[in-house]
């Protein structure tokens, strides 16, 4: 069983993010970066599948500048077997991310690709679906529970959908994206962290993978949300209705 798990480097969700003065991105000085929390869940799921099967390999892939190797190492410290770093100067948009991942998936031929359902920095939530479509593989997004058939031919995935859960069966290979409740990621142990330092990591440029990046999105401007204004207390229900209708225009 070969399991390919994608991880993205994102700002620590517990830290305050500030937009830079030019409005072109966030201030990265003194910022801490971590594995995207949904991707961490994906790594954990990959490890659990391997442990349950008693055999297999968990391969981590990350796209970005050389610093993303920190997040690959963090996933290796949790117990993954090896890493692949796709070396690009900046983080590509979802379509180009999917293109690069397609090339990696074709090279590695995994039984399953597990990804976070979205990255918490840009919140696109598109790469998984695009990757499955490009590969022509089945997909199961927002996974709540994943079970792999004994012969690795199929997976039964319970998905989080509006108002409840939905269970589907998909043929493998497939792309699965992890939702919040899929599992609780483990702590990387000190021995795990030390071992991770010597685990193999391959570095590829897009050209090595035969991919030419062609951005389809342009970041026009980034700005911080306006500070929240204080609330008011309305006197009557009529006044509330009036404000909802004419000021907020929500009803």
């Amino acid at each position: 069983m070969k399991i390919l798990v994608t991880v993205k480097r994102v700002p620590d969700p517990d830290m305050k993010v500030r937009v830079n003065a030019e409005g072109t991105g966030i201030v990265e000085d003194n910022m801490k970066f971590v594995i995207n929390p949904f991707d961490e869940i994906a790594v954990e799921e990959g490890l659990r599948i391997k442990e349950k099967k008693g055999e297999g390999e968990v391969v981590i892939v990350a796209i970005g500048p050389s610093v993303v190797q920190e997040q690959i190492r963090a996933a290796l410290a949790m117990g993954a077997d090896r890493g692949i770093h796709v070396d690009v100067d900046s983080y590509p948009d979802p379509l180009n991310t999917a293109k690069l991942l397609k090339a990696v998936a074709e090279k590695e031929a995994p039984n399953i690709v597990i990804m976070g359902k979205q990255a918490v920095d840009d919140d696109y939530g598109q790469a998984g679906q695009m990757l499955a479509a490009m590969l022509g593989w089945a997909q199961a997004t927002f996974a709540y529970k994943v079970e792999i058939a004994d012969d690795n031919s199929k997976a039964t995935v319970t998905r989080e959908v509006d108002g409840g859960l939905e269970t589907i069966e998909i043929d493998l290979p497939a792309v699965v994206t992890a939702d919040l409740r899929l599992n609780e990621p483990r702590y990387a142990s000190l021995p795990g962290i030390m071992k991770a330092k010597t685990k193999p990591m391959d570095v590829f440029k897009p050209a090595d993978l035969g991919v030419e990046l062609s951005p389809v999105l342009e970041l026009v401007r980034m700005e911080e949300p306006p500070p929240r204004k204080g609330g008011i207390i309305v006197e009557t229900v009529d006044e509330l209705l009036d404000k909802l209708r004419n000021e907020a225009k929500v009803i």
Partner: protein, 384 residues
């Protein structure tokens, strides 16, 4: 020159922080209005931390520890301080009553019988050096151990012994040969229940804990196999780890000060007085600016000293500097943090009030501020 903390330490610290917030924070919250926590709960927390791989992480792998070096150890202790987890500060990595490197000087049997169960969070111990007449001048201890027919008879009294009421065994320092000075002091492992060994009075501390006490030895007889290492090595064994003990205090104080400042700055930006957040008043700004500067200084001393210690360099002077500076600095910073919080700072709802009391002990334990200065001056004068 590279001041960057290596990635593996950052990763370990992140895991540690997550563990503290997820697993330990609920315990701290549950007992935040209590002076003391039942002993079983301390043990429960130790077992949790053991399971997560943090308890005893600073001890060698050969004895069941995690093999973490001093720099990593200091980083985790700083993080622990920063978390403002107070009740369980010695239950997460080790400390009073937990796994201690001094037992590494023991025989194979002693390591098996005493150190390993400590690391597995099955047993607890106490370190008994201080006596009513011997604190900073530890060499003045009066507890005697006299050898008779191949066994030792111990007589004397220890006090302020952390964990005394709960320890399964005590590491007791006694004079075996008064003519030899510090080379006449020996460490003995004395098990609870040994005839002639009793726990005396329990001391209630400023913070209201009742885990310190007296140990009384009256014709308490132990065999040669209870000597830690060799006769006459007790004081030397105890002193060997003193540098590390000082770094432990320095790290926890530096972290606590940072935790207190974090709370104070957040509070100052939210709390409105006279129409604007108090963070916009210079009186408050000066307090936070001084605090941040002093924390930065303490951290710089701490990291460079811990790094040197990890390289095996002699840091007796530096560790005394780190300890005296960080413990006194934390007192000032936590005092300011309390002041910034005003009435709220005095309430136990926030950890600052308790922290204010707890941090006072840091200027006394592991060598008083005065002893640290003495050590620094002594080394300094030798250098010129």
């Amino acid at each position: 020159m590279d001041f960057e903390i290596p990635q593996e330490y950052v990763l370990l610290r992140d895991q540690f922080r997550r563990f503290l917030e997820k697993e330990i924070r609920p315990y701290e919250e549950k007992y935040k209005f209590e002076n003391a926590v039942p002993y079983e709960v301390h043990m429960e927390v130790r077992r949790l931390s053991r399971k997560a791989g943090f308890y005893g992480i600073h001890l060698p792998e050969e004895v069941g520890g995690g093999g973490l070096d001093i720099f990593g150890y200091v980083l985790l202790l700083e993080e622990l301080g920063k978390s403002l987890i107070i009740h369980f500060s010695t239950d997460i990595i080790g400390g009073a009553g937990g796994p201690t490197p001094i037992l590494l000087d023991g025989s194979e049997e002693q390591i098996e019988k005493y150190l390993k169960p400590l690391i597995r969070a099955e047993k607890t111990m106490c370190f008994a050096l201080t006596e009513p007449g011997a604190g900073s001048d530890a060499t003045a201890i009066k507890t005697r151990a006299v050898k008779k027919n191949g066994r030792y008879v111990i007589n004397g009294r220890k006090h302020f012994i952390t964990n005394a009421p709960y320890a399964d065994f005590a590491l007791v320092f006694a004079v075996t040969d008064p003519s030899k000075g510090i080379k006449g002091i020996t460490g003995f492992i004395v098990e609870k229940g040994t005839p002639g060994f009793e726990v005396g009075r329990i001391h209630e501390t400023m913070t209201g804990t009742r885990m310190h006490g007296e140990l009384i030895f009256e014709d308490c007889e132990v065999g040669e196999e209870q000597v830690l290492g060799k006769e006459g090595m007790g004081f030397i064994q105890a002193m060997k780890w003193i540098t590390l003990g000082r770094l432990v205090v320095a790290a926890q104080c530096t972290g606590s000060a940072q935790g207190a400042l974090d709370l104070a700055v957040k509070w100052a930006k939210e709390r409105v007085a006279f129409g604007r957040p108090i963070a916009r008043y210079q009186a408050i700004q000066w307090m936070v600016a001084d605090s941040a500067t002093e924390i930065f200084a303490a951290k710089s001393i701490l990291y460079s000293t811990a790094w040197k210690a990890s390289q095996g360099m002699d840091v007796r002077k530096e560790s005394a500097m780190a300890k005296v500076y960080a413990s006194e600095m934390a007192g000032r910073v936590i005092d300011r943090a309390l002041q910034i919080h005003g009435g709220m700072g005095f309430m136990r709802e926030l950890p600052i009030a308790r922290l204010y009391q707890v941090v006072r002990a840091a200027r006394i334990g592991e060598g008083t501020s005065e002893i640290q200065r003495l050590t620094i001056a002594r080394r300094l004068l030798e250098e010129y």
